[in-house]
C-alpha cells in the first residue's frame, strides 16, 4: 500500500501543478514510512518540502496555501500527533468554507492504527473525532488499489478530506490501475456472504476477511463490508447487506465507547429495526489508553473475537 500511495501522490503532483506535499521529514528522508520517497527529488523543493516541527502550523499554512490557490496534501507523521492541529482542523479546515465561501481542497494524510509494536502515541485511532466534525470528509482505504484511487479522489475533491492510512497494512502489494477512481462516500462489499454482515474499515478489513475465510470452513457465511468512507457514511451499501443477513457487527481498532462503531450500530439498529434478528455487536479496542506493544494483540480486535461475535449473532434468540 505504501507504494500505491507514493504512486498516487506522484501522479497527483504530475497532473496538477498546484498540488503541494509538505510535513515533517517528507523531503530528503521520504517520510518515516517512505510514503513520499523520491518525490522531492522528482518535483523539487517547491512542491515537496519539509516543515518545522509544528502540526498546528502545518495545517494552518495548508489553509493559507489553499486560499492562495494550491491543493495542499500535508502529512501528519503519526495518528498520535494530529492532536496539536485539532483546533486548526475543527475550527478552520472544517468551517472555513461555511464562513467565506472559499473551498479548501486540502487532503490531510494520517498514518493510523496499531499492530506495529510501537511505543506510546504511535498506534492511535482518532478517526471518530473527525467523523463527528461537520465540514470534513473522512476516508480510509483497506487495499493498495483503493489507497491509490481514493487518494486521487480525495486530492481532486474541492472539500477538505482527512485521509487515514492503515499503517499496519502499508506492506500490502497489489496491481494499480492509474485510471481507477473510488468515489468518496461509497463502501464496497469486500466478501459476499449471507449469515452476518461484518462492517469494517481500514486495518480491520483484512481481519474481517480472515474471519470470513475461517468461518467458511465451518459452513458459516459472513459478508464483509469495507466502508472506505466514514464521513459521509454509505448506509445504502450497509443496509443492502443487512437486508440479506439480518445480522451485523462492526469492527474497528478504536475503543468501542463512542467509537465510530456506535454510529454504525445506532444506524443499523434504527434503520433495520424490523429486519434484525440479533443485536448489532461492536468489536473494537478496549476502553483504555492504547497499551504497551506487548499487549496490543489483546487490546485489538482479532479473528477470534469477530468469530465469537458472529457466532453469538447467529445463535441469538
Amino acid at each position: 500500500m505504501a507504494k500505491a500511495i507514493n504512486l498516487s501522490l506522484r501522479d497527483a503532483l504530475t497532473r496538477d501543478e498546484n498540488v503541494l506535499i509538505f510535513g515533517e521529514d517528507v523531503g530528503a528522508l521520504g517520510g518515516v514510512f517512505r510514503i513520499t520517497d523520491g518525490l522531492q527529488k522528482a518535483f523539487g523543493e517547491d512542491r515537496v518540502f519539509d516543515t518545522p516541527l509544528a502540526e498546528s502550523a502545518i495545517i494552518g499554512v495548508a489553509v493559507g496555501l489553499a486560499l492562495r490557490g494550491f491543493r495542499p496534501v500535508p502529512e501528519i507523521q503519526f495518528d498520535g500527533f494530529i492532536y496539536p492541529a485539532f483546533e486548526q482542523i475543527v475550527s478552520h479546515v472544517a468551517k472555513y468554507r461555511n464562513r467565506s465561501g472559499m473551498s479548501l481542497p486540502i487532503t490531510i494524510r494520517v498514518p493510523f492504527g496499531g499492530n506495529i509494536g510501537a511505543v506510546e502515541h504511535h498506534s492511535e485511532s482518532p478517526e471518530v473525532y473527525f467523523a463527528h466534525t461537520a465540514g470534513l470528509k473522512v476516508v480510509t482505504p483497506a487495499t493498495p488499489a483503493d489507497a491509490y484511487a481514493l487518494l486521487q479522489t480525495a486530492i481532486d475533491d474541492p472539500d477538505p478530506v482527512v485521509f487515514f492510512e492503515p499503517k499496519a497494512r502499508y506492506y500490502l502489494k497489489e496491481e494499480i490501475d492509474p485510471a481507477a477512481r473510488v468515489p468518496i462516500g461509497k463502501a464496497r462489499v469486500a466478501h459476499e456472504g449471507t449469515g452476518v454482515s461484518i462492517i469494517a474499515y481500514g486495518p480491520t478489513v483484512s481481519i474481517a476477511l480472515q474471519a470470513a475465510k475461517t468461518a467458511a470452513q465451518e459452513q458459516i457465511s459472513l459478508e464483509v463490508i469495507d466502508l472506505r468512507s466514514l464521513s459521509p457514511l454509505d448506509m445504502d451499501t450497509v443496509m443492502a447487506s443487512v437486508g440479506k443477513t439480518h445480522r451485523a457487527l462492526v469492527v474497528h481498532e478504536a475503543p468501542v465507547f463512542c467509537g465510530f462503531g456506535a454510529e454504525v450500530a445506532a444506524r443499523i439498529s434504527h434503520d433495520a429495526f424490523d429486519l434484525l434478528e440479533a443485536p448489532v455487536a461492536r468489536v473494537g479496542g478496549l476502553n483504555v489508553p492504547y497499551p504497551p506493544a506487548r499487549y496490543e494483540k489483546l487490546y485489538l480486535p482479532d479473528v477470534d473475537r469477530i468469530l465469537q461475535a458472529a457466532d453469538a449473532a447467529l445463535a441469538y434468540g
Binding site: S56, A57, V61, V63, G185
Partner: protein, 369 residues
C-alpha cells in the same frame, strides 16, 4: 561543517536580516521622525483621506455600538482608539495585498471597501462571514485568537511559490502573541522567508488581562528570535503606522522576508458589549490615553500643516454622520436569508448525497411548520 573552535557553533548562529528600512524612520521611542514624516510622499488629498477614513470608521464604530444597545446587534467589539492602525496599515498596502484580520478589524475592512452594513450582519447573527474575501483581498474575521496567523503565513508562502509580488498583512492583538499558533507561524515565516508583515495591535488588554500579566519580555523583541527585524511604534499616529507598514511591505515585496511591527495603542472601549471594564480598569488610564487620541492629534497636525480647515472637518463629520445613518438603514432593512441556504448552503463545494438529503428534510420540515 566545523571543527572544534569558536566556529564550532557558527552554524547555529543566525544573523537577523541586517537590512531594516523601517528603523531609520523612527526615533528610539518609536515616534516617526520629522524628517521621515516630511518624506512620506503623501499629497494633501492623501493626507486628508487618512483623516477622513479615521472619522468614518470611528463614527461607524459608534453607530454599531448604538445598534447593539438597541438590540439590533447581538454583540459589538469597539476599536475606539485604534483607528490610526486600521487606516494607516490598510492605506499603506496595495489593494491586492491580502489582509488576515482577527475580529476587531471592522475599520480595516471598511477602508478596504467592504460594505459596513453587510459586515454587521455577522454581529446580527445572520452570517459567519458576509463578504467574499476574494473580492476585497480581506480574509474572514478569525475569532479563535491567533489562529489566523498561520493562514496569513501560508498565503504568503503561496505568493512566493507563485512568484507573484503581493505581500500579506497579518494583524493580531497583544494577547494573541501568547498562543502557540502565533509562535509556530512566526517561525514558519522566518524559515520560509515569507512576504508577510506582522502587525501587533498592542492595546494593552486581552479582555481583562493586562499586558503585564500576558507577556513576559516584550513582543517586539521576539522578532529577533525568529530571524527577522521588528520595531515598536506609536500606534496612535496614523502616519507612523502608514510609514512603518509601507516600508515593511516594500521590504517583503522585494523578497527580504517578514517584519514585525508592534503598534502600541490603547483599547478605549470595553472588550466587547458583553464586557464590564470597570471591574478591572482604572479611569485614569483612559484619561492618559485619551490625551493621545489618534484623530485629535492628527487633526491638529493637519491644521498645523494647513492641509485641512474647520470647514472640511465639519464636512467630513457630516459625511460620516450620514454614512452611519445609511449603514443603520441598510442593515435594518436587509432581508434574512432563507434558513436552508444559510445553514447548509456553504458547508461543502461538493456536498455528499446524505448531506443534501438532510437539507431537503430540513427544508420540508420548515414548510411543514
Amino acid at each position: 561543517m566545523t571543527g572544534y573552535d569558536n566556529s564550532g557553533m557558527a552554524d547555529v548562529v543566525r544573523v537577523v536580516a541586517a537590512d531594516d528600512p523601517v528603523r531609520p524612520l523612527f526615533s528610539p521611542a518609536g515616534e516617526l521622525t520629522p524628517e521621515a514624516k516630511s518624506r512620506l510622499g503623501l499629497d494633501a488629498a492623501a493626507l486628508r483621506d487618512l483623516y477622513r477614513n479615521m472619522v468614518l470608521i470611528r463614527r461607524a464604530d459608534q453607530e454599531a455600538l448604538n445598534l447593539q444597545r438597541q438590540g439590533e446587534l447581538g454583540l459589538w467589539g469597539q476599536y475606539l482608539g485604534q483607528e490610526a492602525i486600521h487606516v494607516g496599515a490598510v492605506t499603506a498596502l496595495r489593494s491586492d495585498d491580502w489582509i488576515f484580520p482577527s475580529y476587531r478589524e471592522f475599520g480595516m475592512a471598511m477602508v478596504r471597501g467592504v460594505d459596513p452594513a453587510d459586515m454587521l450582519t455577522l454581529f446580527r447573527g445572520l452570517s459567519h462571514g458576509p463578504w467574499d474575501p476574494r473580492k476585497y483581498h480581506f480574509a474572514p474575521l478569525a475569532i479563535p485568537v491567533a489562529t489566523q496567523v498561520p493562514h496569513a503565513v501560508g498565503f504568503a508562502m503561496g505568493c512566493r511559490l507563485k512568484h507573484s509580488d503581493e505581500v500579506v498583512l497579518s494583524t493580531f492583538g497583544d494577547g494573541a502573541t501568547s498562543e502557540g499558533d502565533w509562535h509556530e507561524a512566526m517561525n514558519f515565516a522566518g524559515v520560509f522567508k515569507s512576504p508577510v508583515v506582522f502587525l501587533c495591535q498592542n492595546n494593552h488588554w486581552a479582555i481583562s488581562v493586562p499586558l503585564s500579566k500576558q507577556t513576559a519580555g516584550s513582543i517586539v523583541d521576539r522578532a529577533r528570535g525568529y530571524g527577522f527585524p521588528g520595531i515598536r511604534i506609536d500606534g496612535n499616529d496614523v502616519l507612523a503606522v502608514y510609514a512603518a507598514v509601507r516600508a515593511a511591505a516594500a521590504r517583503a515585496r522585494q523578497g527580504d522576508g517578514p517584519y514585525l511591527i508592534e503598534a502600541v495603542t490603547y483599547r478605549m472601549g470595553a472588550h466587547t458589549s458583553s464586557d464590564d471594564p470597570t471591574r478591572y480598569r482604572l479611569d485614569s488610564d483612559l484619561e492618559a490615553w485619551g490625551a493621545r487620541d489618534p484623530i485629535v492629534r492628527y487633526q491638529a497636525w493637519l491644521k498645523d500643516q494647513g492641509v485641512i480647515d474647520d470647514g472640511l472637518i465639519a464636512a467630513m463629520a457630516a459625511e460620516a454622520e450620514s454614512a452611519a445613518q445609511a449603514m443603520r438603514a441598510r442593515l435594518t432593512s436587509l432581508p434574512v436569508p432563507p434558513p436552508g441556504e444559510a445553514i447548509f448552503g456553504r458547508v461543502y463545494s461538493n456536498p455528499p448525497a446524505s448531506f443534501l438529503r438532510e437539507r431537503e428534510e430540513f427544508e420540508s420540515s420548515l414548510e411543514g411548520s
